[in-house]
């Protein structure tokens, strides 16, 4: 982890991308230059009573125009405050933080559930830029809460629990089918823990490498407070730091 900076980022645009979900593009040139897929930023908020910055995955970064894209669900006071920012406002963020995905796969599947889709947009771009193929598999409860559903309509596979878009059911359905159909060299996943566990099982059976991104509450985001342990990430009796050892881990290392 190096090249971390604190930047006063300017809001370039804000858009609704699902029920209660936003896409925000920020001008943050230094972070845009060094961010890798799977890394995240900490967003300082001026929300009432709030104190700690909030972790959000980098969902896109363009060194050319210095932009960083965030995609997030508005769930509480921090994300609520952030969602209220408008074009031209500034937001203090620091990053890029953490250990991201290992790119370089030639033909891989990205499995995202809910807000876990956010970092995968960036990962897909990076893999494709490096000449690989990346098939995005997106899961959600229903169409309304699937972020960027119009973008996902083409070239991706969607599964919703109520069948309102794509296949009916969980993402593991199409995942199993795909893996059975042909050989992939890697799977990446980000989403709720039960989804990750299910994906891990499927991949283990197929002998496929899997990287997963975990979430937990964070204090600092940089390894200073030891606050970001999570039930899923333990190693030889010691707790891993999601912020620094992760948030991306090799599946066999985590998910108990």
């Amino acid at each position: 982890m190096s090249g971390m900076v604190s930047e006063e980022a300017m809001v370039v645009s804000v858009a609704d991308i699902a029920e209660g979900m936003k896409r925000m593009v920020l001008r943050a040139p230094s972070i845009a230059r060094s961010a890798r897929p799977g890394q995240f930023v900490m967003v300082s908020t001026e929300a009432k009573d709030a104190l700690l910055a909030r972790p959000l995955g980098v969902s896109g970064a363009d060194p050319a125009d210095g932009s960083v894209t965030l995609r997030f669900a508005v769930v509480g006071k921090g994300t609520g405050w952030l969602a209220g920012r408008r074009k031209g406002d500034t937001v203090r963020i620091y990053g890029p933080l953490g250990h991201g995905f290992t790119t370089g796969a030639k033909d891989c599947i990205l499995v995202g559930g809910g807000t876990g889709l956010a970092p995968l947009f960036f990962l897909k771009e990076a893999i494709e830029r490096e000449g690989g193929k990346a098939l995005l598999l997106a899961g959600a409860k229903d169409r309304m809460c699937l972020m960027e559903s119009d973008v996902l309509e083409v070239g991706c596979i969607v599964a919703t629990e109520d069948g309102s878009m794509g296949e009916l059911g969980l993402v593991t359905g199409p995942l199993k089918r795909l893996i059975a159909e042909r050989r992939f060299d890697m799977v990446y996943a980000c989403g709720p823990v039960p989804m990750l566990k299910a994906v891990k099982q499927v991949c283990a059976k197929a002998g496929l490498s899997l990287e997963v991104s975990l979430e937990t509450r964070m204090g600092c985001g940089v390894g200073a407070c030891n606050g970001c342990t999570c039930d899923q990430a333990e190693k030889d009796g010691a707790w891993l730091k999601v912020c620094k050892d992760g948030p991306v881990f090799r599946a066999e290392e985590v998910l108990r």
């Binding site: 971390m4 900076v5 709030a50 104190l51 910055a53 940089v222 390894g223 200073a224 407070c225 707790w239």
Partner: protein, 310 residues
């Protein structure tokens, strides 16, 4: 560098009165991208115990209004790993180094203190008798003047290097505890550690933290911390290192005017990686704007009864 910020604590010359608080700055390895730790008056590292500790299960932290609860549980690599890998990395860090020492028994404190003194790399010990997040030791010693005196006495007997006793606010009379430490030969007092607190997850109908209770820190506790420094400064003649919710130069000045000779920044640094440099710069501006030859001129300004000399 601003000479007016120079501070001296029990013979320790510091370039300014601002330190990291223990447990919020790792082993000085986490914020190097943001600023050079050498710019601080001193670095206080994470608590060290004789053996490695895994700490408490998650969740370990929880945000509260203008504050946070933590129940890390003294996770640390233990003395051996510290000596092998961390102490060497801290050599030549360019500023004073203070090691925070924790333990379950008095022997634990003595063991770590002796090893650190022998190693020779550190400038002072901060004896943490105030951690609320472990079952044994910690708070148990710090909760009474008698317990605090016992630890101070044992460590004092064991080492010649400066010892700072770190006190808990979870007591009826913190000044009395401080006095007991002074009487047993402590070189300084640092205060406050966290206030014992709890947050309940209403949906789950149980405490948020796996450890149930945790330590409250951040701006929320500042008025309590300032009051305790102010009370203690009137009772002891050794310097006080003030902390608890400092997140701006003005906050630091509150503690110094209340009687603290130096300050430490904890939670604010977690929330903003530029907090410490921002605070040092703010103090620098303050002495200039006020035309002070030394920041020491305002130490105790709001505490006429302060006992310490200078």
């Amino acid at each position: 560098m601003n000479d007016a910020l120079k501070t001296e604590l029990f013979g320790l010359e510091m370039k300014n009165p601002v330190m990291s608080a223990s447990g919020t700055f790792g082993f000085a390895d986490c914020y190097r991208d943001f600023f050079d730790p050498a710019m601080m008056g001193a670095i206080v590292v994470k608590a060290l115990t004789p053996l490695p500790r895994a700490g408490n299960p998650p969740p370990r932290t929880c945000e509260t209004p203008s504050g946070m609860l933590n129940a890390i549980g003294l996770e640390n690599p233990g003395l051996r790993e510290y000596m092998a890998r961390i102490a060497p990395a801290l050599k030549g860090i360019g500023t004073k180094l203070i090691i925070n020492v924790a333990g379950s028994t008095i022997e634990d404190y003595v063991e770590v203190a002796e090893a650190v003194e022998q190693d020779g790399g550190a400038d002072a010990l901060e004896i943490n008798i105030s951690c609320p997040n472990v079952k044994e030791g910690g708070l148990a010693f710090g909760s009474s003047a008698k317990g605090a005196a016992k630890v101070t006495e044992a460590v004092r007997r064991a080492v010649g290097m400066p010892i700072i006793m770190k006190l808990t606010p979870n007591v009826t009379d913190i000044a009395e505890v401080a006095k007991a430490c002074e009487d047993e030969g402590a070189d300084a007092i640092s205060m406050i550690n966290t206030l014992l607190g709890m947050s309940i997850d209403v949906k789950a109908r149980k405490p948020y933290l796996a450890n149930e209770t945790g330590g409250l820190s951040g701006p929320a506790v500042r008025p309590v911390a300032v009051r305790m420094v102010w009370q203690t400064a009137q009772k002891v003649s050794i310097p006080i290192i003030g902390m608890g919710g400092i997140s701006s130069a003005e906050d630091a000045l509150e503690f110094m005017m209340a009687g603290a000779s130096a300050v430490a920044v904890g939670t604010a640094q977690l929330a903003d990686p530029m907090a410490i440099p921002r605070i040092i710069e703010g103090l620098s501006r303050y002495v200039k704007d006020e035309g002070l030859a030394s920041i020491r001129e305002i130490v105790g300004a709001a505490c006429p009864g302060r006992k310490v000399a200078g």
